[in-house]
């Protein structure tokens, strides 16, 4: 029994070493010694409009500040303004629900079809900018404000609403 236990411990350490190398390969330096605070956790910020955000990963640095990481599966290794908005909304939801400090800098982890990963550092919107965006969205949905079109012709060509676009 003890031999079996010893073999299991050895195997577990071997696997852990391999996993750690693979798992942390994408990690920015500032997160390598940070603690995983939240994973796949839903946060809610109640207000005139309730903001819900499911956080992929949130790391707590040694100084106590939370840093967000968002995983995206894409063909191209790049990040978009929508990633910044999503992470900014997550930041606002965590701060309002927990009172913790969340960094204005976050990471978008992009994984392609071959599962190669690249990490992109992004600067987030502050809480006021997120609130403004929420208000703008409300105004568009209620018809008080005219929505703007996308600047990308390619996006319009592939849009499922292209025949209905107002």
């Amino acid at each position: 029994m003890f031999e079996l236990l010893a073999v299991m411990i050895l195997l577990a350490f071997l696997l852990a070493w391999r996993w750690r190398r693979r798992e942390s390969a994408w990690m920015p330096r500032e997160l390598r010694r940070a603690e995983l605070a939240y994973a796949e956790k839903l946060f809610k910020a109640r207000g005139p409009v309730t903001l819900t955000a499911k956080v992929d990963r949130a790391y707590r640095r040694r100084d106590g500040v939370i840093v967000l990481v968002e995983l995206k599966t894409r063909r191209g290794h790049r990040h978009y303004p929508s990633d910044v908005i999503e992470l900014s909304a997550q930041r606002g939801a965590i701060m309002k629900e927990t009172g913790e400090t969340v960094a204005l800098r976050a990471y978008v982890l992009v994984q392609d079809l071959s599962r190669r990963r690249t990490v992109h550092r992004v600067d987030l919107l502050d809480e006021g900018q997120v609130d403004t965006l929420i208000e703008r969205r409300e105004a568009i949905l209620s018809g008080r404000l005219q929505p703007e079109r996308a600047n990308s012709a390619k996006l319009c060509q592939t849009c499922v609403y292209k025949d209905r676009c107002l």
Binding site: M1, A12, L15, L36, V49, K54, D56, E86, A150
Partner: protein
């Protein structure tokens, strides 16, 4: 979809808000006409969900021997985290977990009748807990 859909106009998810950075016209169309998806978009969404599942899989489960030895304690939490974040990440690790779950009840039966043996196992497990804690330092057990 990763984020919860809004149930009314007075609620918005982070991913829905993110669409404002893609096309505001599309945000309105989705609100008015629903969210039809092309075959490619559905496939992409399924692939994304699967990759998220792989990346974040962390389930709570049984930890027979450690629970018997330590009770519901910090050590058990560390070992659970190690199992979920390290062992589950590879086929070999998952095989090891399955093998463990097969033999653990039998080991527990033996241990339950031998308090002295429990003390020895506790000493051995201490080493594993120490190593597991170091290995999972990047990702603690909390809220995972």
């Amino acid at each position: 979809m990763k984020n919860q859909p809004a149930r009314s106009r007075r609620s918005v998810s982070a991913s829905e808000l993110a669409q404002m950075g893609v096309c505001e016209q599309r945000v309105l169309c989705e609100h008015l006409y629903g969210k039809p998806r092309t075959v490619q978009q559905r496939a992409d969404a399924a692939r994304g969900d699967e990759e998220h599942r792989r990346f974040y899989e962390a389930r709570k489960g049984r930890c027979f021997i450690a629970t018997l030895v330590y009770g519901e304690s910090r050590e058990v939490m560390v070992l659970r985290s190690f199992r979920d974040r390290v062992l589950r990440a590879s086929p070999m690790g998952r095989g090891l977990i399955l093998a463990y779950y097969r033999i653990a009840p039998g080991v527990c039966k033996v241990l339950a009748e031998r308090p002295r043996l429990i003390r020895i196992v506790r000493g051995l497990l201490r080493l594993l807990v120490w190593g597991a804690e170091r290995m999972t330092k990047d990702g603690g057990a909390r809220d995972v």
